[in-house]
């Protein structure tokens, strides 16, 4: 049975899903120079579920995602106001070590970006950054990470070969394995399947569903079917604003806002 939209007080639904909250943005504003890219986003992301951000190109969903591991720090001329919390702690506090944060909050990018080195060295890259693991420990991490990303069986006999020889879909799973190797708590995925064919996309989605018991996952996607297939919660962005946020089923079947309705029905975007 579909809930009636008017019964739910929108603000409650929009801001706080039930259960443990892992990530939270509070009144987040972002400026690229004079351009107001994010206009006061407040959103709480539940632990160990998949939260999808949808919206047309340029709506700010990727920019928003990149605050949770402070990848926007890399860009010149960006200003931010508001708070982002990881387990209730502000990630903009001056004492925070950004490298530490990124270890806890991993990211998978739109285009697969394996390093031009062997499959083994790609996975071992993170663990080697954060310590000097023994050879047998490293072997174990590499195997577990590749198994975790459902890639082990395909590459176990060619770990020493260049990662650039893999197919696009395999490369993207390698990048996921590479993130798993540093044992993060959160996975941010920025359109992880948009450069892949349908079969590879299917593999990635299957993988996400398998990983969600252990990791809090946020995914940006321009593919609405993907959002509806994998996510438990969905937020709809438009022109730098979070228009609506709630359980995925309700967002797609019974949106409260006219603009959300138009978008999920494919009337624009």
């Amino acid at each position: 049975m579909v809930e009636s939209p008017v019964v739910q007080p929108p603000d409650e639904v929009i801001i706080r899903p039930p259960g443990q909250i892992r990530l939270e943005a509070r009144d987040l504003h972002m400026y690229y120079g004079a351009f107001h890219a994010l206009k006061g986003i407040s959103m709480a992301v539940p632990a160990c579920q998949i939260t999808a951000l949808i919206g047309p190109s340029g709506c700010g969903k990727s920019s928003f995602l990149r605050w949770f591991n402070r990848m926007n720090d890399v860009i010149d001329g960006v200003r931010v106001e508001g708070e982002v919390l990881l387990d209730g702690e502000d990630i903009f506090r001056p004492t925070l070590d950004v490298a530490d944060l990124r270890k806890r909050v991993g990211m998978v990018f739109q285009a697969p970006n394996p390093f031009p080195m062997s499959i083994y060295d790609n996975i071992a890259y993170g663990p080697r950054l954060h310590g000097s693991p023994r050879r047998d420990e490293l072997d174990q991490i590499v195997e577990e990470s590749l198994r975790g990303a459902a890639l082990w069986d395909e590459v176990k006999d060619k770990l020493r070969q260049s990662a650039l020889g893999l197919s696009g879909g395999q490369q993207q799973r390698l990048c996921i394995a590479r993130v798993l190797a540093v044992q993060p708590e959160v996975l941010l995925m920025d359109e992880p399947a948009s450069a892949l064919d349908p079969t590879a996309t299917f593999h990635i989605e299957e993988l996400m569903l398998r990983l969600k018991d252990q990791y809090t996952i946020m995914i940006v996607t321009h593919n609405m079917y993907q959002a509806s297939r994998v996510s438990t919660h969905t937020g709809f962005f438009l022109l730098g604003e979070l228009i609506e946020y709630g359980p995925t089923e309700r967002i797609f079947e019974n949106p409260l806002d006219k603009r959300t309705d138009d978008y999920v029905r494919g009337r624009f975007g």
Binding site: D76, R102, F115, H130
Partner: protein
């Protein structure tokens, strides 16, 4: 009157083609002239026989160039890493870049005088291999910096992002991802920059070069050296009795040396590019 687009296109093509042809023809003309005039003067005796032998000059030039590379590489590459990876856009960085561009435009004879004042006299290196190489290093530094920066920029941003997102610091990212992937480009640019130093006369005129009849090989970096470009210069201006085919042969050797080094660098780069895909 309106020219038909197809006619205009033909005229434009012809002009562009002509411009390219002029450049190519100049190179061919220089090399042909060198070969025609120089080859008759080439002989084993030219290289090894007597006080006028070329061998010491070739050795001297190679030593100068080698030491120049040793001096210019660390400074140039580190400056390039700073500019490409660390510097944020701002007035200071703009000023630094402007300085580098202008440094590249300073005439080489000015470098020679500056090198004499700084290295030969103030730092008391004397006229020596070291003073000459240090002067040449200053001369090629802008080339090394801009070429290395170019090589660093060729490394895709997504590799840096991937490394940073795994919790690497900026320096770890530079050392483990950016530099290894930029290295082939940096090395070839170095060779090309340094081969330019091989042909320069003015910077070593007051700082390193001499014309020895008895003991032409340097024993330490504080000895003077005989160098090919300076020899050619001295032969042409101070030795009216020198047979002309010997001068041409010397010029040919110098050109072949520089072209050889360049060709080697380009072949090496082509080889690496074929291996590299990202």
């Amino acid at each position: 009157m309106r020219i038909h687009p197809r006619t205009a296109q033909k005229i434009a093509f012809a002009l562009l083609y002509l411009a390219t042809g002029v450049v190519a023809l100049t190179v061919v003309a220089i090399v042909l002239l060198m070969l025609l005039k120089g080859v008759p003067g080439l002989s084993v005796a030219l290289f090894v026989k007597g006080s006028q032998a070329l061998a010491p000059a070739i050795v001297g030039t190679l030593l100068l160039v080698l030491l120049t590379a040793v001096l210019a590489t660390p400074v140039g590459v580190m400056a390039a890493v700073y500019l490409s990876e660390y510097a944020r856009r701002g007035p200071l960085v703009r000023l630094i870049r402007l300085a580098i561009v202008n440094l590249a435009g300073v005439p080489s004879v000015v470098y020679g005088l500056f090198g004499m004042a700084l290295f030969v006299m103030m730092l008391k290196f004397g006229r020596s291999l070291l003073a000459g190489s240090a002067t040449l290093a200053l001369l090629v530094l802008p080339l090394v910096i801009s070429a290395s920066e170019e090589a660093l920029r060729q490394v895709p941003q997504r590799l840096r992002d991937g490394s940073l997102a795994l919790g690497a610091t900026k320096w770890q990212t530079v050392r483990r991802v950016v530099l290894p992937n930029a290295l082939p480009g940096i090395i070839t640019s170095l060779i090309l920059a340094v081969s330019r130093a091989a042909g320069e006369t003015a910077p070593i005129l007051f700082t390193a070069a001499f014309f020895s009849l008895t003991d032409p090989y340097p024993n330490s970096v504080f000895d003077k050296v005989v160098a090919l470009p300076y020899r050619l210069y001295a032969m042409s201006t101070e030795m009216p009795n020198m047979p002309p085919e010997q001068k041409w042969a010397t010029a040919l050797v110098l050109v072949l040396l520089v072209l050889g080094v360049n060709a080697g660098a380009i072949a090496y780069r082509t080889h690496l590019r074929r291996k590299q895909r990202w």
